[in-house]
Every structure is written in structure tokens, then in C-alpha cells.
């Protein structure tokens, strides 16, 4: 634990260093990155020793003389700490050239400081061992990420996004507090480990109250509304950290709570599974309908959270019906997908950030042909797209395969469970297919073809500090795909903290993963062989080149290319009742038609429902009380006096 605390202090020192030296812009950035990197490497070392030695280390201190803050580092915490300590320093490094306006140096320093706070608070959430420390670090995490989202506070959209985020996160926190308070009232102890002693019916209530909080943090449909607002508004590195790492704290909360409750009712698994299926399918469908690059990635996070929850749901159902193979593989796939998503989602966000940096726009319909101008970014984005679509030989395939494996193992069940698991398999397949079409759309629009706008034509590759994190992340994505065994074993180690789960033998897992890795390596071998063969065959031949997708036209224009809408709409429309598509078409009326316009927008049904059914009636109702606020100070004071008198008389 000492090493872990040392790493947190070093990370903290980085944030304070940034605040204190903000006048020296380059020194501040370099020092901050060095300290964060050092702190996170120390943290990774602490995590590695914990995972190997499999003993639980604890630390506690008193706070305000009233409460004890206690933290413990067990296998599950250690597993969730890996993405925190691995991805955050890359994001810090990415910031070096991304935040390149020396005039904003004070603001950048504040941003760095809050990133530090976010890293530390996430690490504390993952290690919190009692109610107080969990709630405290959870709040610090929410607030620091709010300030990170608000980095460009001059823009109206950013402020709006920030407010939406803080609303969701604080409303979620209320449910968390309600859950923790309820638990406390039954156990009388702050320790999380005492949760197992609650009566079974209370366990259900506590779990679902907390699920609202964890779900809104993780971005589970229909509580995901803040994601597509906050991610585009935040700086790209921050979006990467939030989407890759922070929302996983919601998943951590769900799995940890499930573990400490020790409940084995099937209802937990069923609800989690259904939520996962809804989030997964609808997330990717909305991603298909959006034009903003970072909004697409935000919805894709909803989708991946869906996949993670499907895995967790299968694991929970496996525990409930006593099928430990199904449970082990479901949970292992879920955890590994948490880790995988924390690799390829920051990779994609870093890519989107580079595109934004290089072209000044993140609307995919304005981009095009970027892979020729931004080679490294383009390749990184391609690797990320392949990985997130769950294609071999990348890491996304491994984790989804584990979930499939668990799910197929569960098909021996009867009745409702059978139908649910069948549905889970179908929706997983569905999500996979839709994800491929979604990311082929994004990559095709942004990086292939011809530039659709002058900004895209003038794009330039970004600097080393921005491309290097992408190279590292792509390499790790490929590495996990090729050699999955140690990583799957790592996820299995993390599962030891769930006491109700009897893990399958490591040898049984190793058979599966080694075959998987072997197949992936053969696949890469065949691929490379084909590439070499192609080189050899084409060596003697003359190769001509023309505009991409010119299709033999003599005068092709860039407007003849596919647009985002034309590519995705046929799929999106299939989901009509769940997705609102609004189209504006001016129509052609005369023989020589004038300027015709066509526009289509895909609206989020959760957001519409929230606005139309809840917010608008509420605002209307509260508007009736507007007269109370009339602006006369004297009367306000009399309100206070009346309140005091009423309280004195009746309380």
C-alpha cells in the first residue's frame, strides 16, 4: 500500500507543479507530464505486485475526527487500477502538443490540475473500502471531471454540456447516497464488507438504487444522455480519459457492489443483461446516425458499456444458476472488455483530437482523404476502429469471444434464462455487425476518399507527443489480440474478489485463449503473406492512380461521394420506433428546379423523452411560482423572517 500511496502523491505533486509554474508554459507541461508518468509507473508497479501476491493490503486514516477513511487494494481494485495508471499518463502526454496555446497557460494549468485530481480520485474510488471513502472519492471524481469538461467555458455549448453532465452525475450521486444510507441503516457499519449481512430484499433495493448512479456514470441507456454532450465539449485527451477510464468506474461500482452483497438472485443478472442489450444496440445505432466525430465515439462508448454489461449479466446469471464456466467466462469477458475499451476508445478519441487539431472540424461530412495527409493518425484510427468493431486479430475480438463463450455455455439452461441468453447472443452479434458498419462509415468518411472541405484538404499531421500515445495504444491493442492468454488470466485474477464465484481452472481457460491467440497469429501471418505476395506480383506492372472513388468520371466532384447520412440511414431507419429521424427536404417542384436542400437529423429518444415528458412539464409547473422572485430585497428579507417564525412556532 505504501507504494500505491507514493504513486498517488507523485501524481498529486504533478498537478500542484502545474499550478505553481503556469507562467512557464513549456516547463509546466514537461514537468507535469514527467511527474504524472512517474507516479503512474509507480502505481502500475504497486498494482502488479498486488495482482501477483494476491494478498489484500489496506490503509486507513481518520478524517475530521469523526470518520475513518479506509482503503484496500485487492485483486478487483488492482484490475481497475491498470487502465487508470496506464491510460492517464498517455493522455497527459497527448496534452503536450494538443494544448499548445501559451496564452491560455493559466487555464491549461487548471486543466492539468483537475486531471490529476481525476486520476487520484479514480484510484481512490477503485480502492475505497468503506461507505465514507467511497462516497467522498466518488464526489471528487465527479466534480473534477466536471471542471475538465468545462475547459472551454467561453463556448455556450460547452457550458451547456457541463451543466447537463453535473446534473446527471449529481442526480446519480443522490441515488448512491440513498443506497449507501439504506445499507448503513441495516448494517450499522461503514465497511463495505458488512453489506453481505443485509436481508435479501434490502440487497435488491440497495443494488438498484446504486445502479441508477453507476449506470448514469457509465452511460447505460437511458441514462447516457450526458455522454454525447460532454465528450464533444471536453478536450480530446479528457474525452479519452473520461470515456476510456472514468465511465468504467460505474462498471467497477456495479461489479464491486455485486461482489460485496454476495447476492445470487437471478434478477440482478437479468436486469443487467437487458440493460446491456438495450445500451449496446441503441448506442451503436445512434452512433451510425450522428455526424460529429466525437459524438459518434460517445455513442460508441454507450455501445461498449452495453457489451460489458452483457458480459457481467451473463456472469451474474451464471452464478445464479450455478454454472460456473458460464459465470467465469462472462465476467472475464466483461472485465477484459473494460480493459480493452480503455485502450481503443482513448486511441480513437486521440485520433479524433488530432483530426480536430489538424483540420479544425470534427464533422465527418466536412472531412475526407485524411489518411493521405495524416498517416500515423489515420493508421491509429484504423487500428482502433478494427479493435472496437471486435474484429480479429485485435483485442476487442478476444473479450467479445469470451462473452460469447460464456453465453453459449449457458444455452443448456431452460425457460426464461434460455431465451434471455439467446437474445444476448443475438444482440451481441447484432452489435458487432452494426459496429463494423458504424466504424467503416466513420473511417471511410473521414480518412478515405477526397477532402470535402478546404480545411480537410489543408490537414497536417500532428506532433510527436500526439501520435506517440496512439502508436502505443494501437500496439497494445494488437498485442492483446495476438497473445491474449496473460491478459485473460489477469482478468481472471481480478475476479477472485467476487466471493460467490468459483473460478474455472486456469488450464481450461488457457486452452481456449491459446487457441484463440494461435488463430490470430495465423491470421496475421496469412495477411502479411498476402501483402508480400501482392507486392511481388505488382512489381513489374505499371500502376496508375486517379482520384479516389472517381469511378471513371471525367469531372468528378467531391460532392459525389457518400455522405454520412446516405451510408448510415438505411440501417438507422430500420430502428424507427426507437430512433427519431427528422428529415427536411425542400423538394423539386419546377421543371428547372432551384436550389434544393436535404437535411436529416437523428434524435436521441431518451433525450427527447427526458425533455418532453419530464423537464418541460416541470418547468411549466415551477414557472407558476415565478412571482415569488420579484426582485424586492425587502420582501426577500421578510420571507426569511416568516420562515424563521414558522420554524420556531411549529418545529
Amino acid at each position: 500500500m505504501d507504494i500505491f500511496l507514493l504513486s498517488l502523491s507523485v501524481v498529486c505533486a504533478g498537478g500542484l507543479f502545474a499550478l505553481s509554474t503556469y507562467r512557464l508554459f513549456r516547463l509546466m507541461k514537461a514537468g507535469y507530464i514527467a511527474l504524472t508518468l512517474a507516479g503512474c509507473l509507480i502505481g502500475l508497479y504497486a498494482v502488479a505486485t498486488t495482482l501477483q501476491s494476491d494478498e489484500v493490503v489496506t490503509f486507513s486514516g481518520s478524517w475530521l475526527h469523526l470518520f475513518t477513511l479506509s482503503f484496500s487494494l485487492d485483486a478487483l481494485s488492482a484490475f481497475f487500477l491498470i487502465p487508470i495508471f496506464a491510460v492517464c499518463p498517455l493522455a497527459a502526454l497527448y496534452n503536450f502538443h494538443y494544448m499548445d496555446k501559451a496564452a491560455d497557460s493559466g487555464r491549461v494549468a487548471v486543466n492539468f490540475f483537475f486531471l490529476t485530481l481525476l486520476i487520484v480520485s479514480m484510484a481512490l474510488v477503485a480502492t475505497a473500502d468503506n461507505i465514507i471513502s467511497f462516497a467522498l472519492s466518488w464526489e471528487i471524481m465527479s466534480l473534477s471531471s466536471f471542471f475538465l469538461v468545462m475547459h472551454d467555458y467561453q463556448k455556450k455549448e460547452t457550458r451547456q454540456a457541463g451543466y447537463i453532465y453535473i446534473l446527471f452525475t449529481q442526480a446519480g450521486a443522490m441515488f448512491l447516497f440513498a443506497a449507501l444510507a439504506l445499507a448503513y441503516s441495516y448494517t450499522g457499519s461503514f465497511a463495505l464488507s458488512s453489506f453481505a449481512t443485509m436481508p435479501a430484499s434490502i440487497k435488491v433495493v440497495v443494488f438498484f438504487l446504486a445502479l441508477v448512479c453507476f449506470g448514469s456514470k457509465a452511460g447505460v441507456f437511458p441514462l447516457h444522455t450526458w455522454l454525447p454532450h460532454a465528450h464533444p465539449a471536453a478536450p480530446s485527451a479528457i474525452s479519452g480519459v473520461m470515456s476510456g477510464v472514468m465511465i468504467k468506474m460505474g462498471i467497477y461500482g456495479i461489479i464491486r457492489l455485486y461482489g460485496v452483497l454476495g447476492a445470487t438472485d437471478i434478477i440482478f443478472g437479468q436486469v443487467i443483461l437487458v440493460l446491456g442489450m438495450i445500451s449496446g444496440v441503441l448506442g451503436v445505432v445512434y452512433a451510425l446516425g450522428k455526424q460529429d466525430l466525437k459524438k459518434i465515439l460517445a455513442y460508441s462508448s454507450v455501445e461498449n458499456i452495453g457489451i460489458i454489461l452483457i458480459g457481467a449479466g451473463i456472469g451474474m446469471i451464471g452464478i445464479a444458476v450455478g454454472d460456473m464456466v458460464m459465470a467465469s467466462f462472462g465476467f472475464a469477458g466483461s472485465l477484459l472488455h473494460v480493459f480493452n475499451h480503455s485502450l481503443f476508445k482513448p486511441l480513437l478519441f486521440f485520433g479524433a483530437g488530432s483530426v480536430l487539431h489538424g483540420t479544425g472540424t470534427k464533422n465527418v461530412d466536412q472531412l475526407g482523404g485524411l489518411v493521405k495527409r495524416m498517416t500515423t493518425t489515420g493508421k491509429g484510427f484504423l487500428f482502433g476502429s478494427l479493435a472496437i468493431s471486435g474484429l480479429p486479430p485485435f483485442n476487442g475480438f478476444v473479450s467479445e469471444f469470451l462473452i460469447y463463450f460464456g453465453a453459449f455455455h449457458g444455452l443448456t439452461q431452460k425457460g426464461a434464462t434460455f431465451i434471455l441468453i439467446m437474445l444476448a447472443i443475438i444482440s451481441l452479434a447484432f452489435i458487432g455487425g452494426l459496429a463494423i458498419s458504424c466504424f467503416s462509415r466513420v473511417f471511410g468518411l473521414a480518412f478515405l476518399g477526397e477532402p470535402r472541405s478546404p480545411e480537410a484538404a489543408k490537414a497536417h499531421e500532428t506532433d510527436f507527443s500526439m501520435t506517440f500515445p496512439m502508436v502505443v495504444l494501437s500496439a497494445v491493442c494488437l498485442l492483446i489480440g495476438l497473445f491474449p492468454d496473460p491478459f485473460v488470466q489477469m482478468a481472471m485474477l481480478g475476479l477472485k474478489s467476487i466471493t460467490s464465484l468459483n473460478l474455472v481452472e486456469t488450464s481450461a481457460v488457457a486452452v481456449v485463449t491459446q487457441n484463440l491467440g494461435f488463430a490470430a497469429r495465423i491470421f496475421v501471418g496469412v495477411f502479411l503473406f498476402t501483402v508480400v505476395l501482392r507486392k511481388i506480383f505488382y512489381r513489374q506492372k505499371e500502376i496508375g492512380s486517379g482520384g479516389t472513388w472517381g469511378c471513371g468520371f471525367t469531372q468528378p466532384t467531391v460532392r459525389m461521394q457518400y455522405t454520412g447520412t446516405s451510408y448510415g440511414m438505411s440501417i438507422v431507419e430500420f430502428f424507427r420506433p426507437f430512433v427519431q429521424v427528422r428529415t427536411y427536404y425542400s423538394g423539386i417542384s419546377k421543371i428547372f428546379p432551384g436550389r434544393t436542400t436535404y437535411e436529416s437529423r437523428v434524435d436521441d429518444i431518451a433525450e427527447i423523452t427526458l425533455v418532453d415528458r419530464i423537464v418541460t412539464p416541470f418547468v411549466f409547473l415551477l414557472g407558476k411560482f415565478r412571482w415569488i422572485q420579484h426582485g424586492h430585497i425587502q420582501l426577500y428579507i421578510s420571507y426569511i423572517i416568516v420562515t424563521i417564525i414558522v420554524l420556531l412556532l411549529f418545529m
Binding site: H630, G631, H632, I633, Q634, L635, I637, I641
Partner: protein, 217 residues
């Protein structure tokens, strides 16, 4: 022989009534200075605390300094600098205000009798004065138009709270630490109010708080 405590309390009560009836801002500030000094003197004059430690002496001196000189001085500067028209502009007229003040004294007596606290002898009169001062402070805040009269009302409220503390506590001077904290709050409040007054008068060419009603959305 004249009972000094009761004389002080009478002066305080009179100052309260006078402040309710005064038409000029400058006069109001001067009354506040007098009231501040009197209020700070009251605990010294109460019979049953003859022995003072040096800390308590310093404390009372600082109290008189702040209440009698510093805060009225700041208010005086604010009135001067903002160049406020010197009338007070009441919502409730001066005579009616004085009448309300008299009514408040009666209500305070009633409340004090109804509280049935076990007070040291003579302290019940302090409590009556205290409640009257507090209530009048609140009334002043509600019944006057200018921002600066709100500050003065707030000061009066604080004087009342201080007197209640004097009446109820056992006069170990550690208890005054709390009072001192409140006093510091008031001091800072007055300073901030000076700045705000300046801004209000710059924005609206007046310090009439009814103009602030325009700021609501």
C-alpha cells in the same frame, strides 16, 4: 445612585427608536456608532463579573474599537464616496416606524416573560433590549429603500445578537470568541457592502434597492 447598566440599556433602546425615526443617513451612522459603543460596554457594567482577565479587557477594547469606530467609519466613507442623497427614503413612514419600535418593545417584554429562562437578576432587561434591537434591525432592513440602510439594519441585528449572548451566557470570555467571529463577519460584510454599493450606484446612478429588481430573470 444611578444604575449604570439600566442607563446604558435605556440609551440603547433610545438609540433604536431614534434610528427608526431618523430622516438623515449621516445621523443614522452616528447613532449606530453610539449604539455600538453602548452595546460593547454592557457586559462590563453587568454586576456579576467583577474579575476580568487581561484577555477579556483586550477583547472589550477591540470590540469598542470595531463597533464604535471602524464600522461607522466605513459606513461614513461609503456615504461620502457614493455621494448618496442624504434622505433615507422609507417604505414605512418615520412616525409609523417609531410606533412599530414601541410595539416591538412590548412584544419583547412579552416574549422574555414567556421564555421562562432562569436568568441572573437584571439580565431580563438585557434580554428585552436585545430582542427589541434585533427585531428593529430586521424591521429597518425591510422598511427602508436604500442599500446602506440594509447594512445598518444588519449591524443592528448583530448588536442584538451580541446582547442576547451577553444576557444568556456565563461571561467566561471564551464564549465571546463566537461573538468575535460574528463581528468579523459583519466587518467583512460592511466592507463588501461598500464595494457593492459603489457598483450599484455606478450601474444605476442610485443605491435604491428597488432598482435591483430589474436584475431578476
Amino acid at each position: 445612585m444611578i444604575n449604570l447598566t439600566e442607563a446604558t440599556l435605556v440609551v440603547i433602546l433610545l438609540s433604536v427608536l431614534l434610528s427608526l425615526g431618523s430622516t438623515r443617513l449621516m445621523a443614522l451612522v452616528q447613532i449606530m456608532a453610539l449604539q455600538g459603543v453602548m452595546v460593547s460596554l454592557t457586559p462590563l457594567l453587568l454586576k456579576h463579573n467583577e474579575a476580568f482577565s487581561s484577555g477579556a479587557i483586550i477583547f472589550y477594547q477591540v470590540m469598542i474599537l470595531i463597533k464604535g469606530i471602524l464600522i461607522p467609519g466605513l459606513l461614513y466613507l461609503a456615504v461620502k464616496r457614493v455621494a448618496i442623497k442624504r434622505e433615507i427614503e422609507p417604505f414605512v413612514g418615520y412616525h409609523a416606524s417609531i410606533l412599530v419600535g414601541l410595539g416591538l418593545i412590548l412584544v419583547s417584554v412579552f416574549i422574555t416573560n414567556n421564555l421562562r429562562l432562569s436568568l441572573a437578576s437584571g439580565n431580563d432587561i438585557v434580554l428585552i433590549t436585545a430582542i427589541t434591537t434585533m427585531a428593529s434591525g430586521l424591521f429597518l432592513m425591510m422598511a427602508r429603500r436604500k442599500a446602506i440602510t440594509q447594512v445598518i439594519g444588519y449591524l443592528m441585528l448583530e448588536n442584538g445578537i451580541y446582547l442576547i449572548g451577553t444576557a444568556l451566557t456565563n461571561h467566561t470570555h471564551t464564549i465571546y470568541v463566537v461573538e468575535f467571529g460574528v463581528l468579523l463577519d459583519v466587518l467583512v460584510g460592511v466592507m463588501i457592502m461598500g464595494i457593492i454599493l459603489h457598483n450599484i450606484s455606478r450601474a444605476f446612478d442610485d443605491v435604491d434597492t428597488t432598482l435591483l429588481g430589474r436584475l431578476k430573470d
